[in-house]
Amino acid sequence: MIWAEFLGVAALLIGCAAPLRAQASCFDDLTARQVCLDRPAERVVTIPMPSASTFIAVDGAAQRLVGMHPASKRAIDEGLLGRIFPQARAIDASIAGAGSDGFMPNVETLARLDPDIVVQWGDRGDDIVGPLRNAGLTAALLRYGTEPFARGNLTLMGDIAGKPERAKELIAWRDATIADIEKAARDIRDGRRLKVVFLQRAASGLAAAGANSYNDFCIRLVGGVNAAAELVGAGAVNAEQIAQWDPDVILLNSFEEQLAPARIYDDAILSATRAARERRVYKMPIGGYRWDPPSQESPLTWMWLADILYPGAFHFDLRAEIARAYRLLYGFSPSDSDMDEILRIRTNGDARHYERFATSATR
């Protein structure tokens, strides 16, 4: 009896270990830890917010994604991705809470989804990773917030999906776009560099993106200057500080749904900034994912920003670029009204230089 049990356990152990050694595909995650899968992952769960849409884009489908963070779900429901991949709306988003500590997964809910791999933050402490390890789940950790990390995440998703060439293709698009933009941005004289403030929070209280933010990277890439570069991270600021910076352009985050340029135009102080006087206040677009943080769609963000900052220097036909990118990313051809929604024509339509996004030259 006891012997039989022992043999059974031993057989089980050997049975588990054998295929791992036989044909494991191994790759590094963004914390340089090795992750091994014995076969391409069929059931993937993502906990970091942007990862769900990144995985869908890299995989080109939503079938293999079985769980995601509630905030990812909200972005998918709100944006275009939910319409492109209707089945994404049915994916489980109950694995974690939404707010603070929201990246702490409920391991039992997670286990019920029976994931082959769980994508988790690698830069928010070990507390949110430990439970996954403890439950014997395979975890791949990512880091976030810079362009190199964005590329690393694409590569990681490609490795998980078993489609590394697809990640390479998306990264090549980023390289090409950066090269294009840098070439034109080099000719912008220092005196003509526009001061830009990106408002990370504006609905209740103000917070601007500081020097080490991705928004700062985007602004500098297209030849602008981040007026809030003295801040670290997303610092809370007051209207007086923004008046002191007197930005030429104000960008509004896409996260706060109700936020619109009227917030700036109706404010006694902010309406006196150059950006408001020249009607250069723009709300960030939202496509397959929000355009302000790094994502698979970032090259479109750069083109959009380049076009509105320096309409004389850049001539991206954004509608044509979006159509091309969406075919590449999602195999989807957005309609004209989809484009209006992505670019937020209704919110941004009467801002300066936005008329160039109203129609496409090639259509």
Binding site: G97, A98, G102, R201, A207, A236, N238, F255, E257, I269
Partner: protein, 351 residues
């Protein structure tokens, strides 16, 4: 640990005459207000700032830009006034409560009003509300918390101070848990950082409209405390003594609580939770003028206003980012409080 709250330890030999002391404290307050008006991230020369202010009442030729004027009149002036109002109200409220409770560790938040109001504000933010809806929610829940404390603390028609403090702690913990719950469900990209910043207190959203909202509550509350100053003195002798002297203890105590709740609710509604002012400032004031509420209330109010003006000036001008008030009040308050406690204790032992 009953500190000097109950004994009338008026300094035996008044080194400086009363009027000189009053003048010194008023000068301090005025200097703090003017300094606050002149410092900030937007560069305006102090003289120009004062000229802009004077131009409202005197004919002065304007040699400043529209932006200069807006910064002074629409940003700094209401902010200075709001900080002074809240500082004065919170400190006076703290002084009165410390008297009534005969406990030096009591601060306005002990009544549960502040956690209640914090919950109301956080709820409004997570529902996407701002402006007056937020203020209304904060004030409403602050009042509701006090009502709960009142109902729960009354056993057989009366409520003693220990019961009140404990109930206040219970209700405070309840609302603190509700705030945590809100933070747990809030959107990490938008409402969560807003809630967290709001909970740490800030005057960064000050406008004249907010001054208009907060001023009645704070002023009525402070006026009520002033009218009750003799009764608070009697209450601070202890419940039995007060009753023996013919004071309607229950009624008067609740009048004080209502006044403090009004102040606290109004302050939290417009500025978020600003801790430590109501705790530390009354101690400093007591060290200066003793425990007699007739002197303690106005001195606490003036010192509280000056203190919060100083703290707020630091919060908005030291770095480009707004520093939450709660951080500075605690960083400055904790060591100051420790020093004050030691000094008071030494004085007691020496007496």
């Amino acid at each position: 640990m009953s500190l000097a709250t109950t004994t009338d330890e008026t300094p035996q030999r008044r080194a400086i005459p009363r009027w000189a002391g009053a003048l010194a404290i008023l000068t301090l307050l005025l200097a703090a207000a003017l300094t606050a008006l002149c410092v900030g991230r937007f560069q305006i020369a102090p003289l120009k700032a004062i000229a802009i202010l004077l131009s409202r009442v005197a004919p002065l030729s304007a040699d400043w830009s529209v932006m200069d004027e807006r910064i002074i009149l629409l940003v700094r002036a209401p902010r200075v006034l709001l900080a002074a109002l809240c500082g004065a109200g919170l400190a006076a409220g703290g002084a009165a409560l410390q008297g009534v409770f005969r406990n030096p560790l009591v601060a306005p938040q002990i009544l549960g009003v502040s956690p209640g109001a914090a919950f109301g504000g956080a709820l409004a933010i997570s529902l996407g509300l701002d402006g007056f809806a937020l203020i209304g929610a904060a004030f409403g829940f602050g009042a509701f918390a006090l009502l709960l404390v009142g109902c729960l603390a009354r056993v057989e028609g009366r409520s003693d101070t220990v019961m009140l403090v404990l109930t206040g702690v219970v209700i405070g913990a309840l609302f603190a848990a509700l705030v945590s719950l809100l933070q747990f469900v809030a959107d990490p990209n938008s409402s969560l950082p807003a809630i967290i910043f709001w909970l740490m207190g800030s005057f960064s959203a000050a406008t004249w409209a907010r001054v208009g909202v907060a001023a009645p509550g704070v002023l009525i509350g402070m006026a009520t405390l002033w009218l009750l100053r003799f009764r608070i003195d009697v209450l601070s002798l202890g419940e039995e003594e007060a009753r023996a002297l013919g004071l309607p203890v229950e009624r008067d105590r609740w009048l004080v609580f209502a006044a403090v709740a009004l102040i606290e609710g109004a302050a939290v509604a417009v500025a978020g939770v600003v801790g430590w002012v109501g705790l530390v400032v009354p101690h400093a004031a007591r060290l200066l003028v003793g425990a007699d509420q007739r002197a303690l209330l106005p001195v606490s109010a003036a010192l509280g206003a000056a203190y919060l003006l100083l703290v707020d000036s630091l919060a908005r001008s030291v770095t480009a980012a707004e520093i939450p008030l709660g951080v500075i009040t605690a960083l400055m308050g904790a060591p100051a409080f420790a020093a004050l406690l030691r000094q008071t204790r030494r004085k007691e032992l020496g007496a």
